[in-house]
C-alpha cells in the first residue's frame, strides 16, 4: 500500500512537471491538422489552378488584391487565395506551416532576411536561379539588392517591394520654429544641430526635435551607411556604431528626443508621435509614406504638411545611401502548382507588378522614373521638389545581411541594443558585449 502511494505520488509529480512541456508540443500537432485540410483545398479542379499565397495584414494592405486582380485579368484560369498569417508572428506561423512538408502553400511572401535564411536553410523555398535564366529576368533592375540575398550563387526570392529609410519632417513645426527645412544633403552633424533647434515647450505639449523608434535599426544602422561594415562584422568590436549611439543618447539626455525607456514601456508606435505633431523629424522606412498619406486623408493626423528628405550621411559618404528591407516573393518547394506559382511571382515582381504596387502609393522593388512619377503625383504626397528627389537612392544596404545564422544574430543585437538604450550598460561595454555575443554565434 505504501509502495503504491509512493508510485502514485511519483506519477503525479511527473505529470505535473510534464505539463511544463506541453506548451512546446502543441504547435506542431495543430499545424499538421491544418495542413491536411489545406492540402485538400489547394488541389486542382478541372483546368482551373488554385494558388494559395501566404501573406500578412490582408485587410490593411492595399496592394495584394490589385496584384491578384491584375494577374487574373491575364490568366483567368488561375484563382489566388490569400492566407493571412498575421504580421507580428508571421515568420513563426509560416515556419510552423512549412515544417513537416505538405503545407498547402504555393506562394510565400518573404518578410525579412532572417526568415529568408531560415527557410532556405530548411530547403522550404524553390531555387529560382534556373527559372530566372530561362525567362531572361534582368536582375539589374532591382538595383543590386538581389545580390545581397543570393546564397552560394542561388536566388530563392524575387523582390516585389523594396523599402528604404528616409527622414520625415513636419513642415508646420519647422515654420513655427522659423528654421529652414532639412535638405537632401545633410551630414549627421547638421542633422543633430537641426534637431536641437526644434525643441520647444514642456510636459505634454513638448515638441521634440527628432524621434527614434525602439527598433535597433533606427539607431545602430546609421553605422553601416558608409558601406564598409555590416552588422555581422564583429571583429572590430562594433566601434563604428559608437558615434551614433553617442549622438542619440546625448539627444536623449538633453531632451531632444523621447526617452527610449518610456517608449518601450508605453509601447508607443512611431506613427502616433509623428502624426500628432510631437516630433519635428523622424527616420523611418518608406512604408510610412502610404500610412501617413492615408491617415492625413482620413483626418487622423495633424502632420498633413510633411516632407521627406534623404537620410543624413556621414562625412565623405554619398548622400542617398540608406538602409533597405526587401519584401520578396518565393515559391514553396512543397507546392503542387510550381509553374503557376512561378508565373505569378514573375508577374508581381516584374514591371507590370511594380506599376500595380506603385498605384497604391507603395514603393515597388523596381524603381523606374514612371514609378517615382506615380507615387509623387498621388494626392497628399508633398509637393516640394526635395521630397520627390528623396526617393532616389544612391546605395542601399540591407538591415541584416544574408547569413545562415542571421536569426540568432538578430536576437543578440536586439538584446544589446536594448541594454545600451536603457543605459543598463555603457556604450563601450555594450558594443564589446555585442561583438562577443555575435562572435559566439558566428565564430
Amino acid at each position: 500500500m505504501n509502495k503504491l502511494r509512493k508510485v502514485t505520488s511519483l506519477i503525479l509529480a511527473m505529470s505535473l512537471s510534464a505539463s511544463v512541456l506541453a506548451g512546446c508540443g502543441n504547435g506542431s500537432t495543430e499545424s499538421q491538422a491544418s495542413q491536411a485540410s489545406q492540402a485538400q483545398a489547394s488541389s486542382q479542379a478541372g483546368g482551373q489552378v488554385k494558388l494559395v499565397w501566404a501573406l500578412w495584414d490582408k485587410d490593411k494592405t492595399t496592394y495584394y488584391q490589385p496584384l491578384i486582380d491584375a494577374y487574373k485579368e491575364k490568366n483567368p484560369n488561375v484563382t489566388i487565395e490569400m492566407k493571412d498569417l498575421g504580421s507580428t508572428d508571421y515568420q513563426t506561423a509560416l515556419g510552423t506551416q512549412l515544417a513537416g512538408g505538405d503545407s498547402g502553400l504555393d506562394i510565400i511572401t518573404v518578410k525579412d532576411v532572417p526568415g529568408y535564411a531560415a527557410m532556405t536553410n530548411a530547403g522550404q523555398l524553390e531555387d529560382l536561379t534556373q527559372y530566372i535564366k530561362d525567362n531572361n529576368i534582368d536582375l539589374k533592375k532591382y538595383g543590386g539588392i538581389t545580390d545581397q540575398v543570393t546564397v552560394d550563387g542561388k536566388l530563392y526570392e524575387l523582390p516585389f517591394r523594396s523599402d528604404f529609410w528616409l527622414l520625415y519632417y513636419n513642415k508646420d513645426l519647422f515654420d513655427k520654429a522659423k528654421v529652414d527645412y532639412p535638405t537632401n544633403d545633410m551630414t549627421f552633424e547638421q542633422y543633430d544641430a537641426l534637431a536641437r533647434k526644434l525643441v520647444s515647450g514642456s510636459g505634454n505639449d513638448k515638441t521634440y526635435g527628432a524621434h527614434y523608434h525602439t527598433w535597433r535599426s533606427a539607431v545602430q544602422l546609421f553605422g553601416i551607411l558608409d558601406g564598409k561594415h555590416t552588422v555581422l562584422d564583429y571583429q572590430d568590436g562594433y566601434t563604428w556604431m559608437k558615434p551614433y549611439y553617442e549622438m542619440v543618447l546625448k539627444q536623449q539626455d538633453d531632451g531632444v528626443v523621447m526617452d527610449y525607456a518610456t517608449l518601450k514601456t508605453s509601447s508607443t508606435h512611431y506613427s502616433g508621435v509623428f502624426e500628432n505633431s510631437s516630433v519635428a523629424m523622424m527616420n523611418m522606412g518608406s512604408w510610412f509614406i502610404s500610412t501617413l498619406m492615408a491617415d492625413n486623408k482620413a483626418g487622423k493626423s495633424t502632420a498633413k504638411n510633411f516632407g521627406i528628405v534623404k537620410y543624413p550621411h556621414a562625412e565623405g559618404v554619398e548622400p542617398g545611401s540608406t538602409l533597405a528591407t526587401i519584401t520578396g516573393l518565393a515559391v514553396a518547394s512543397s507546392s503542387k502548382n510550381k509553374e503557376a506559382a512561378l508565373d505569378f511571382v514573375k508577374f508581381a515582381s516584374g514591371e507590370e507588378g511594380a506599376v500595380v504596387v506603385a498605384k497604391t502609393g507603395t514603393i515597388p522593388a523596381i524603381m523606374s522614373d514612371d514609378v517615382i512619377e506615380f507615387i509623387t503625383s498621388m494626392e497628399g504626397f508633398p509637393t516640394d521638389p526635395n521630397s520627390k528627389e528623396a526617393l532616389k537612392t544612391s546605395h542601399t544596404y540591407l538591415e541584416m545581411p544574408m547569413n545562415a545564422k542571421s536569426a540568432e544574430v538578430e536576437t543578440a543585437l536586439n538584446d544589446d541594443h536594448d541594454a545600451i538604450m536603457t543605459k543598463s550598460i555603457s556604450i563601450d561595454e555594450g558594443l564589446k558585449k555585442m561583438s562577443e555575443d555575435v562572435k559566439a554565434i558566428l565564430g
Binding site: 506541453a22 512546446c24 536569426a407 538584446d415 541594454a419
Partner: protein, 302 residues
C-alpha cells in the same frame, strides 16, 4: 464456502468498478495522451537530434551535442539563473500575500465580498490589458508611481521594467499581484474547512490570536499550502507571458527566462533539437523540485 463466494464476487465487483472508473477517465486521458504525452515523448527524442523543421532534410541524430551546447550557451546560463531567481522570490511572496489576504477576508469585515472580488480581479483580467496599465503606471518618466515618489522627495526613483537593477523585481511584483487573488481563493476554502471547535478549544486553553494562527490555522492549512506551493512553483518555472508583456526579457537579457529562451531558439532560430534539450532541463528542474516537495510534505504530515 460462503467466504469463498464472497471473495469472488467482491473481486468481480472491484474489476467492474475499475472498468467504470477507467471509462470515466478515458475521454480526458485520450486527449492528454494524443496532445500532450506524445508530443512530450517526441520532444525527448528531438533533444538528441538536429532539426530545423524542414521536411526535406528531416531530423538527424546528433547524440548529446545539444546537451553539450548548454554549457557554452551564455544566454541559457543567464536564463537559467533568472528563472531560479524569479521562482525563489515569487513563490514565498505569493504564498504569504495570498494567505494574509485570505485570513483578512475570512473575517467578518465590512464589504467583505467586495474586497474579495477586488483581490480576485487581477487574476481574471486579461494579462495583456493589465500589463499595459501596469507599465503605464510604472513608466520611468511620466508614470504616476514615479511622480509620487519624486513628490515625496526621492529624486532618482527606479526605472522599474527598463532599469537593469529593478526589472526582475518589477516582474516579481507584477506576478505576485496578478496571481495572489487566485491562491487567496484556495486558502479561503482551506480556512473555511477548519472546524470552529478547534479555535474554541484553543481559546479555552488561553491561546491568543497569534497563537491560534500559529498552532491551529497554519497546521490545518498544511494540505492547502502544499498544493499552492506546488502550483506556484510550477507556474513560476513556466513563466513566459508576463515576461513578454512587462519587460520583453530586457533590459538586455536581464529578465530572460528559460521558456522565453526556448521560444526564441525554437520558433525564431528554428533549432528544434536544441530547444527540446533546454525543455528537458526545465522538465528535470521541475521534476526534482516537485519530488523534493512531495518528500518534504510526507515528512511533515507524518
Amino acid at each position: 464456502m460462503s467466504t469463498h463466494v464472497k471473495t469472488v464476487s467482491s473481486k468481480g465487483r472491484k474489476r467492474r468498478n475499475n472498468l467504470i472508473a477507467y471509462s470515466f477517465i478515458a475521454p480526458n486521458f485520450i486527449g492528454f495522451a494524443v496532445f500532450t504525452l506524445v508530443p512530450i515523448l517526441m520532444a525527448v527524442g528531438l533533444s538528441f537530434m538536429k532539426w530545423n523543421g524542414s521536411a526535406v532534410q528531416g531530423p538527424q541524430f546528433v547524440g548529446l551535442a545539444n546537451y553539450a551546447k548548454l554549457f557554452t550557451d551564455s544566454r541559457f546560463k543567464q536564463a537559467f539563473i533568472n528563472t531560479v531567481i524569479y521562482t525563489v522570490a515569487t513563490v514565498p511572496l505569493t504564498m504569504i500575500t495570498s494567505l494574509l489576504l485570505a485570513v483578512i477576508l475570512n473575517q467578518k469585515i465590512f464589504a467583505r465580498n467586495f474586497f474579495r472580488t477586488i483581490s480576485f480581479f487581477p487574476y481574471v483580467a486579461s494579462l495583456v490589458a493589465v500589463a499595459a496599465v501596469w507599465n503605464a503606471l510604472f513608466s520611468p518618466e511620466k508614470g504616476p508611481v514615479n511622480q509620487v515618489l519624486r513628490a515625496i522627495g526621492i529624486s532618482n526613483p527606479p526605472g522599474w521594467a527598463v532599469d537593469s537593477n529593478w526589472a526582475m523585481a518589477t516582474l516579481i511584483l507584477f506576478s505576485v499581484w496578478k496571481n495572489m487573488g487566485y491562491y487567496m481563493i484556495m486558502y479561503l476554502a482551506g480556512l473555511q474547512s477548519i472546524s470552529p471547535e478547534l479555535y474554541e478549544a484553543a481559546g479555552l486553553d488561553g491561546a491568543n490570536t497569534v497563537q491560534k494562527f500559529r498552532y491551529v490555522t497554519l497546521p490545518q492549512l498544511g494540505n492547502t499550502s502544499f498544493l499552492v506551493l506546488i502550483m506556484v512553483t510550477i507556474q513560476c518555472f513556466k513563466v513566459y507571458d508576463v515576461v513578454l508583456m512587462i519587460t520583453n526579457a530586457g533590459p538586455g537579457t536581464k529578465t530572460l527566462v528559460l521558456v522565453f529562451h526556448i521560444y526564441n531558439v525554437a520558433f525564431k532560430q528554428w533549432d528544434l533539437g536544441y530547444a527540446s534539450a533546454i525543455s528537458m532541463v526545465l522538465f528535470l528542474m521541475v521534476l526534482i523540485v516537485t519530488i523534493v516537495q512531495f518528500r518534504g510534505e510526507k515528512k511533515i504530515s507524518n
